[in-house]
């Protein structure tokens, strides 16, 4: 499996994502730079977390217009799996590959803690076979408050595109406790929690590997 991890100026989870896929899941990792004009042949593209472009203007706004983004959009349009984690989720919303936007946390503070999330949609690559499964995953964000208009939220629910939902407690004020969504074709997914930070028993547990390892489960079918 070949996985492309994109680094923007200000990405800071790219190394963790690379290690999770290479060391823990045995994938071949391709490092892409935001100024590249094309993608090497790959089975998935990951936009990692961080503070791309220092969160200037809006989180993800600059990165969504980076030089590499047209190639990523074309890959997504061909059905290629694209996963955005935290800042990557914000970028995918800004790039209009996903619906809605991530607003400032309701508390206004930066939140860094473990949360429980449950899998609602198991028709994405990452959650296949995991319906109803609960994960403990770390969140670390200032702007994770998922927002979309009521009609969009209703459509997400009706079409089964809410992929993960915060369990029990809403950490950041997200509409309907949404932690992850997908596009209509199910190949583009964004989530606020950090699965790569839960990929080793020494730190954070290994629930994140179940999620990221969906790439391998998908290939086995």
């Amino acid at each position: 499996m070949r996985v492309t991890v994109v680094t923007f100026p200000g990405s800071n989870c790219d190394r963790d994502v690379q290690r999770a896929f290479s060391d823990k899941l045995g994938c071949h990792v391709i490092k892409a730079w935001h100024e590249d004009s094309s993608l090497a042949e790959t089975d998935a593209v990951i936009l990692p977390g961080g503070f791309s472009y220092g969160d200037y203007l809006r989180t993800g706004a600059m990165a969504a217009r980076a030089q590499l983004m047209p190639a990523i959009k074309a890959f997504a349009e061909r059905g290629g799996p694209v996963l955005g984690i935290c800042n990557g989720f914000q970028i995918l919303c800004e790039a209009q590959l996903l619906d809605g936007a991530l607003l400032r946390n309701e508390s206004l503070g930066f939140i860094c803690e473990d949360v429980r999330v449950s899998v609602e949609a198991d028709d994405t690559l990452w959650t296949r076979g995991l319906k109803g499964k609960e994960f403990t995953l770390p969140i670390a964000h200032g702007d994770g408050n998922y927002f979309a208009e009521e009609a969009t939220l209703d459509a997400l629910e009706k079409e089964g595109r809410v992929v993960l939902r915060y369990e029990a407690r809403n950490p950041n004020g997200s509409c309907r406790r949404i932690a992850a969504i997908s596009n209509k074709a199910r190949n583009v997914v964004g989530l606020m929690p950090h699965p790569e930070r839960a990929s080793d028993e020494l730190i954070g547990g290994t629930d994140g590997l179940l999620f990221l390892g969906g790439l391998l489960r998908g290939a086995a079918k």
Partner: protein, 80 residues
């Protein structure tokens, strides 16, 4: 030609910054304030052959980059 683009969260989109500022005003006895919404503005200077052309360019830039119309609204002011 110079323009100022004002960007603010749409009405109905929760503005926790504005609400926090509102609470501080109230705590300080400024009860007359019924609502506080916080936004930003962006000043641009550009070359265009006509004012009309400039306005179109600023409008496009606002829509494409300066504002995320999922959550924000914007209005453009011409600066002298």
């Amino acid at each position: 030609m110079r323009f100022r683009i004002h960007v603010a969260l749409k009405n109905g989109v929760h503005d926790p910054q504005g609400e926090a500022a509102h609470r501080v005003l109230k705590r300080n006895g400024m009860d007359a304030f019924k609502d506080v919404r916080i936004g930003k503005f962006i000043d641009v200077d550009l070359d265009a052959s006509t004012a009309e052309e400039a306005k179109v360019l600023v409008e496009n830039a606002s829509k494409e980059l300066f504002a995320n119309t999922v959550i924000e609204r914007y209005w453009i002011e011409e600066l002298s």
